[in-house]
Amino acid sequence: MHNKIAKILKQLNAVLLGKEQQTKLALVCLLADGHLLIEDLPGMGKTTLAGALAKTLGLDYQRVQFTSDMLPADILGVSIFDKQLQQFNFHQGPVFTQVLLADEINRASPKTQSALLEAMEERKVSIDKLSYSLGQPFFVIATQNPQDQAGTFPLPESQLDRFMMRIELGFPNKDAELAMLKEQTAATSINAVIDSQQLQTMQAAVKRVQASDVLLNYLIRLVNESRYAAEYTNALSPRCSKSLLNAAKAMAFIEQRDYVVPEDIQAVFAAVTDHRLNGVHGVRQGSQALSQTLLNSIDPLQP
């Protein structure tokens, strides 16, 4: 199973050069069965990463470009009256897929955003008193552009909380960019390394990764610090601590361990907590991200 993981990562890194950390986190997020928010400037490879992820994992995916005039029906689907059958027929929207790539999610109106968010949390769609279950697995990979805020609706804290991780890609380093320019890697060359069945097996394996009491204690101390220390305006929710543990488990799984160590938590911590700590109007304070401040203030050794 682990050589598959290595293959997946290798393929992803071939698509997105020099971003090993980010691709790993993205994979961790999917293995932990969480939704992913990618935030960066335009043209940084957000969509490329999302697409490559879906393809590599052998999942079918739908891409929706969000705009401000979009309605919930544009995502969820719509019931149309069939004259021949004399009844309404539900036409599934793009959400009925395994991976939904929601491009520029912050451009949609809050109404549309929340329609998507119900699907994210409940993994089902309710229309006209009928609920339609979404397939398994189901991921939302959303991207958003932090700049250029005119005509956008920033996701509120409650909705940010539903994304397990938020990652930033950042500019590639010199070598990576040079390599990128030299060989034009085509998206078409991406093959599925595993299928969705195998992905679910992996997810089950991730769930079996063990976490000792000492480690859970460390996690709880971290979360509690955000709740009781003065510098954090947004406290971390219990959902966040759950996500943190699941992500750490997935990280441990990728690192070929069947138990979680503090390094796993530290590796996923920034991605899992930064967007929750900063909030909608969150401004980075000082040179250090809030998540880093939090990590530095808790000693993993001393209880």
């Binding site: 063990q210 000792s212 138990y259 503090p262 000693d299 993993p300 050794l301």
Partner: protein
Amino acid sequence: MLEFLTRQSLSLILLSYALIMVLLTDQLHSVMIVFGILCALWRVAVFTGRVALLNKLMTNIFTLICSALVITLVYQQGMLSILVHLVVLGFSLKFLELKSVRDVHFFVNTGFVLVALFLVFNQSMLMAGIAMVSTLLLLTILLSLHGKALANYQQFKLLSKMVLLSVPLAVVLFIVLPRLPSMWKMPLQNKATTGLSDSVSPGSIAELSQSSELAFRSSFDGKIPAAAMRYWRVLTLDQFDGKTWTQSSQLKYQEEQVKIGKGPIFNRGSLQYQSASTRKQSVPTKENSYQIIIEPHYKHYLPSLDFAKATAGRILLSDYSLRTLKPVFKRQAFSIDQFNQVERSLLSPQSLKQFLQLPSGGNPKTKAWIATQQASGLDSYSILEQLLAKFNQENFRYTLQPALLGEQQIDDFLFTSQAGFCVHYASTYLYVARALNVPARMVTGYLGGELDSDSEFLSVRQYDAHAWVEIWKNQQWQRVDPTAYVAPERVEQGIMQGLDDQSEFLSGQYLSIHRWQANPFLNQLRNAFAKADYLWAVWVINYDNEKQFKLLQNLLKGLPWLNLSILILLLLLSAASSLILWVFKPWQTEKVPTEDRLFNKLYQKSTQQHLAREKGQTIADYCQALSQFKIEEPQLLIDFAKLYNQIKFKPSLSATQRKTLLAELAELQKKINRQFRKSLDFHKNRNGSE
């Protein structure tokens, strides 16, 4: 002006100053009291902003002058008095110049010393209670100084908590801590206090009768003797100058001997002049025994019922009265055996002459009366009985406020005023007896005493002071109490009943609770208090080394191997160990897991490489960073971290696996430390060679 002193603390300070000065009023020279009042007024004026504090130079000069003045004033009164005055002076001056927190500390500590000094003079329960209140007040000052943030009730709560917590400690210290009697000797006070004096003239006992102060208490092992038998002998007076009865030089010599601690002990036939024809004497047998708890009177007197024997620590004088070896300067308990008789002896010619001594001349009327009686053929003893009958039948009155007597005292009393109290009657009777050649002497002491409600103990107060006569008859001293013929109630029921006019009793002392004996409620209250004070005296004041030892011995009876020194050692050890336990609380410190201990060992060594672990850094990160340093095999560190993580965070490890892994980890740690040491030595050598 004084930010550190709140209005509240300053009022507390004023209050405690006033209280302590009032406590010590009895011990202080009147000048000192006036000075204290002036200090208080000055301080209040400073408090309200009318005057300024004295400056430093002025204070110093003032202190010197006052000290010199005080020493000259009270120099006569002995060391203790000088000590008290100097401390009070310092206390007052400090009170005047309170400027900082340190001053207040000084003030409060001096206050504690003064309260302790107060307890030197007063040991009754009431006084101990008052001393306790002053101590609490001083503590409150300290608390109000440091606990400004606390509300009043919180301060009160804290104070009561502290006091309550210290009570068990105080009790244990009281019971267990050995008394150190000879380390520190109380300088004796020369001040006269109430009590019997060694000379009596009509009038002096009347003064005593105005005092309801406790003289002593007594409890009996056997039956309590009837009121009329409770003649507590203290002093014998046998020298008369026409006005005043004093001790003859013979007796004075004995008293002096007592003072230097080697008085005569007239116990067994040690008396000379034992007649050859002495009858077969019956051996004195013990009738009763009793305890006396005597109030401090700074003399050697020890009241006793007839007859007592000298035992260790006591001296028996030739007149049967008891003396203590050391003056009674604190409440003290004595246990005395009462015997039915003393071994008889004859009077020496010398003493015979003394017991017949009278001033020459004077009192012609009395002499004439004696002559007429003699003329009617009566013998000496019958004439004396005639005199008693005269007291009884004629218009003699028992009063504490008799008219003044003239030059011819006996004549004036017997034929003119016919009003007086015990000393008048005793003195007259003595005069007549001696004039008739009957050896006689005056005995002063106390008569009666009041039983408490449960008939457990007698309280004898100063107003129970009494004087009576002993005449030598049938070769032994026989007690005659002329007062009994005038006012038999005095003998049987006490002085209040004896008085013809009962309003004379404790006249001028309206506040004294003893004056209002008729009020049943007050009487009950008085009795209850007397009882409590008695128990206080028995159990607290007289708890000395001996009792302590006995108590501990009783406690230890069941454990023969345990003696006192071992017990004290054990107590000290247990106190020390519980203190250690309490400080370190081993049950609260978690055991450090082995893997963490190993890491700490490694870490101690690695910090010498100047790499400290940051707070949030995990062990793997740290080892990673450390492996960049000069170490032969960096891989060891990575392995260490991996192993550590496995041991620490893998829940599925079995105990045996864990053990082997721990052994491996220990091995790794040793290797790494060795390498560290090597690289350090290498660095040192290199630095040294440079």
